[in-house]
């Protein structure tokens, strides 16, 4: 009895304090909103937004709703995060491996890179790329071609435009290839376990991945037209490239800064993971007659990945959250479009900030849930 009371009292006090604080806040919010004549509600999402966004993945202009603007911002955030994650993984893995190189120069160059980019605030790096480095690029009329027909200019990076016919057939063919690869892999595993025969899964997979999309070109009526950028004069001094896909400088600066910064952390994760696999594992695997490739694939990588993946996912999450710094250089991401422009226009601070936070929160939580599931799956199963 005594014990129950002892446990109940602090809980009740905490609960009471939380309710008190929340009640106080809601009460104030109610009064403040009454005074300003705003009504709480999410109905404004359906209203016409009447502002324009300069870079959007989906069709959007001022006549669309605020909900559509939210979607534009979210997609832009996801685009930056996606490119950033891929680039930072590539750089991070290379640098992480380079840090373990026996070559003195390579090791120290990699270490220098990590120490240099890790210790400068990300915001300053974004500013540096956007305001200092990319501003030094040539105007469109002075730009020289990179790799034949792409142009890096102060107005952005112009790359050839791909015009697809029957794009959906092409995508379906890739999907079909992936599904058949999964089936073949599980079949090969079964064969290996039952009969000890090894199928050349890698070559079959590669072949399928190339053959099926190729077939879609031949049979499915897919065709691809590449339009190379050509300089076009708009006014006396205004030039642009058309027809071309233009990546805005904000996107380039953001992706560069994010991936160079996050890559330093990923490099450290990779290094720790590879160092974490003991040398005895490699020697034991070699002594039972596995080839070097098998040692890497079957013994080293599974163990190293177990150490590498959890912290790396954390870094991916950080990258996604850090992409919100886009607002500082006016890249139209979720924070700028929704928590910036839309908030300014509607004045609905509580609704908009809460939606923005909940969006990031749900991205984070869903990745954590996935991560926990994966962690459980790859954890060492002790018998």
């Amino acid at each position: 009895m005594n014990n129950t009371v002892k446990k109940l009292i602090p809980q009740l006090i905490t609960l009471f304090a939380i309710i008190l604080v929340f009640g106080f806040f809601t009460y104030n919010a109610q009064i403040n909103m009454d005074n300003r004549g705003i009504e709480f509600g999410y109905g404004f999402l359906k209203q016409e937004s009447s502002f324009d966004v300069q870079f959007s993945l989906i069709e959007y202009d001022g006549s669309h709703s605020y909900a559509r603007a939210y979607l534009v911002g979210l997609l832009n955030t996801l685009l930056v995060s996606f490119i950033g994650i891929i680039l930072s993984t590539i750089i991070g893995v290379i640098v992480g491996i380079a840090r373990l190189s026996p070559n003195y120069l390579i090791k120290n160059t990699a270490a220098f890179y990590v120490e240099f980019f890790r210790n400068i605030p990300l915001l300053l790096q974004i500013f540096f790329w956007y305001f200092a480095a990319l501003r030094a690029l040539p105007l469109p009329q002075d730009a020289e071609a990179w790799f034949g027909s792409t142009y890096m200019t102060i107005k952005g990076y112009y790359v050839p435009l791909f015009v697809w016919n029957n794009l959906d057939v092409f995508l379906y063919s890739i999907l079909a290839a992936i599904i058949s690869i999964v089936i073949i892999r599980s079949y090969a595993k079964k064969i290996q376990e039952n009969e000890g025969k090894q199928l050349p899964v890698l070559y079959i997979s590669l072949g399928l991945l190339i053959l099926l999309p190729l077939l879609s070109f031949v049979i499915g009526g897919v065709n691809l037209e590449i339009k190379t950028p050509v300089l076009k004069q708009l006014s006396a001094t205004g030039f642009i490239f058309e027809p071309a896909l233009s990546l805005p400088p904000e996107l380039i600066a953001l992706v560069l800064a994010l991936s160079l910064y996050t890559a330093t952390f990923i490099a450290e994760c990779v290094r720790a993971g590879i160092q974490g696999v003991s040398k005895g594992q490699k020697e034991a695997a070699a002594s039972i007659g596995l080839t070097p490739r098998q040692v890497l694939k079957l013994v080293i990588m599974p163990q190293a990945l177990r150490i590498i993946i959890p912290p790396t996912t954390n870094q991916y999450l950080n990258l996604t959250k850090n992409s919100s710094l886009a607002a500082a250089i006016a890249y139209p991401d979720l924070v700028l479009v929704f928590a910036g422009t839309a908030l300014m226009q509607t004045g609905r601070a509580i609704e908009i900030v809460s939606i923005t936070m909940l969006t990031y929160l749900s991205i984070s939580l869903s990745i954590s849930v996935l991560m926990n599931w994966y962690n459980k799956k790859i954890a060492i199963k002790e018998k």
Binding site: N103, N119, I120, N322, V335, Y360, I363, L365
Partner: protein, 423 residues
């Protein structure tokens, strides 16, 4: 004389291989060096693409020729072992050396040789390099923001006093040692608050009032990170204990609180503190923007600190809890005297890393209009008299932050080593 096989250098004709190889390497490096430092293209009689790859080819062949195992020459063996183990390594080595040689002249000329530092106006910058005059003229603004020039001694004095007070722990005698925790956790923050409130902000004792809107530059970065650091630690500790509590209400509240703050980006938290939070306060109640920002960042970082401390708490063996309980200690007594001292010692490196992240996050406060160093740089580069010096400004700020953060990370690394050996 043995037969020479240039594909497979060996020890028998050591000198021949060594001399040919060295000459080739020297030629290749000299070629790059000349073209980089003196703009002399020694191979311009060749087609452009070939003259570009020639030094690389020469260097590779040279490195291949000197790759002789157990040559008996100390430095050659050292070289082979460290930078020249195989062809691929040799190629990377050459590429790195060439890159350094090629990058050195433009970097040096921009930073030093073609840079200007004299004068007080933009006209003084005539060179093609950096314009350090810009930094010189704006230096006080970058350091102190809009704080009045003649009052800046107040910031300096309070920082010096704060740093001096922080080192009290090193000089405390044996008798006073037990009060140190009390001093750092309670007394020091109060002194710091009073100092900053009365000395930097002013308004009493005949000191002129300076509103927080005028604070800025690097000193604001320090003030914000300092207070957030002081506040987020105790909050984080309580949250960590709460998350491991057996009382469900407290536990789930802590879990929810921590996961919420860890799931959102700092920039939205700052937006919340500046546009949403005032809606939750009584109408006539005014809270300074700086105070709101400090509260927001403290809560945000507290969630990260809590997770780090939780790691330490989990790492302690169960026996410690059982032993403390068997001595009849209650919850608080057990944690204050047995658990926390050990757990905190374990997580010192983790906490140092969190604080490092905190310092790196502070430039973000510029999105809500507080002009710390990134904000001042933005202001300075749009000043019509000083257009076009964004590069110098960001390089300057990057160097300052790099020094601070690098020192912190090295310090935390040293702490890690120190506490690792003790256990």
């Amino acid at each position: 004389m043995n037969k020479l096989n240039f594909l497979k250098p060996d020890k028998n004709n050591l000198n021949i291989y060594l001399y040919t190889g060295s000459i080739l390497i020297i030629i290749s490096i000299l070629d790059v060096f000349l073209s980089s430092f003196f703009k002399i293209n020694a191979t311009n009689f060749l087609p452009e693409t070939l003259s570009l790859f020639l030094p690389l080819l020469f260097g590779l062949i040279g490195l291949h020729l000197v790759r002789i195992e157990f040559s008996g020459i100390k430095y050659l063996d050292l070289l082979n072992k460290n930078i020249n183990t195989n062809n691929f390594n040799g190629l990377l080595t050459l590429l790195i050396i060439f890159m350094i040689i090629l990058a050195a002249p433009p970097a040096l000329s921009w930073f030093i040789f073609d840079a200007n530092i004299s004068g007080d106006t933009k006209d003084a910058c005539t060179g093609t390099g950096a314009c350090w005059t810009y930094i010189k003229v704006w230096f006080r603004r970058f350091m102190y923001g809009m704080y009045p020039n003649e009052l800046q001694w107040r910031i300096n004095v309070s920082f010096i006093i704060l740093v001096a007070l922080a080192f009290v722990g090193y000089f405390a005698g044996e008798k006073l040692k037990k009060f140190l925790t009390l001093y750092y956790v309670i007394i020091y923050p109060i002194i710091a608050y009073i100092l900053i409130y009365y000395l930097i902000s002013g308004g009493a004792f005949g000191l002129e009032w300076v509103e927080t809107g005028a604070w800025g530059g690097l000193s604001l970065t320090f003030i914000v990170s300092f207070f957030c650091l002081i506040f987020c630690f105790p909050i984080g500790m309580l949250l960590a204990l709460g998350r491991r509590s057996s009382l469900p209400t407290i536990k789930y509240f802590s879990v929810g609180f921590i996961e919420f703050w860890r799931g959102v980006p700092l920039i939205t938290v700052l937006f919340m503190s500046s546009v949403m939070f005032p809606m939750f306060l009584p109408e006539d109640f005014f809270m300074d923007k700086l105070v709101r920002v400090i509260i927001a960042i403290s809560l945000f970082e507290a969630a990260y600190v809590a997770e780090v401390i939780r790691g330490g708490l989990q790492a302690l063996p169960r026996g410690q809890y059982d032993a403390a309980k068997s001595l009849g200690m209650g919850y608080w007594k057990m944690h204050i005297f047995v658990i926390l001292p050990q757990a905190l010692k374990l997580v010192i490196p983790g906490i140092a890393n969190t604080f490092l992240a905190l310092v790196k996050d502070t430039p973000l406060i510029f999105v809500v209009g507080l002009m710390e160093i990134a904000g001042m740089l933005g202001l300075a580069k749009t000043n019509p008299k000083w257009l076009g010096f964004a590069m110098e400004g960001y390089v300057f700020a990057a160097i300052i932050f790099w020094i601070i953060c690098y020192a912190m990370s090295k310090y935390s690394y040293n702490l890690e080593i120190k506490y690792k050996t003790e256990r």
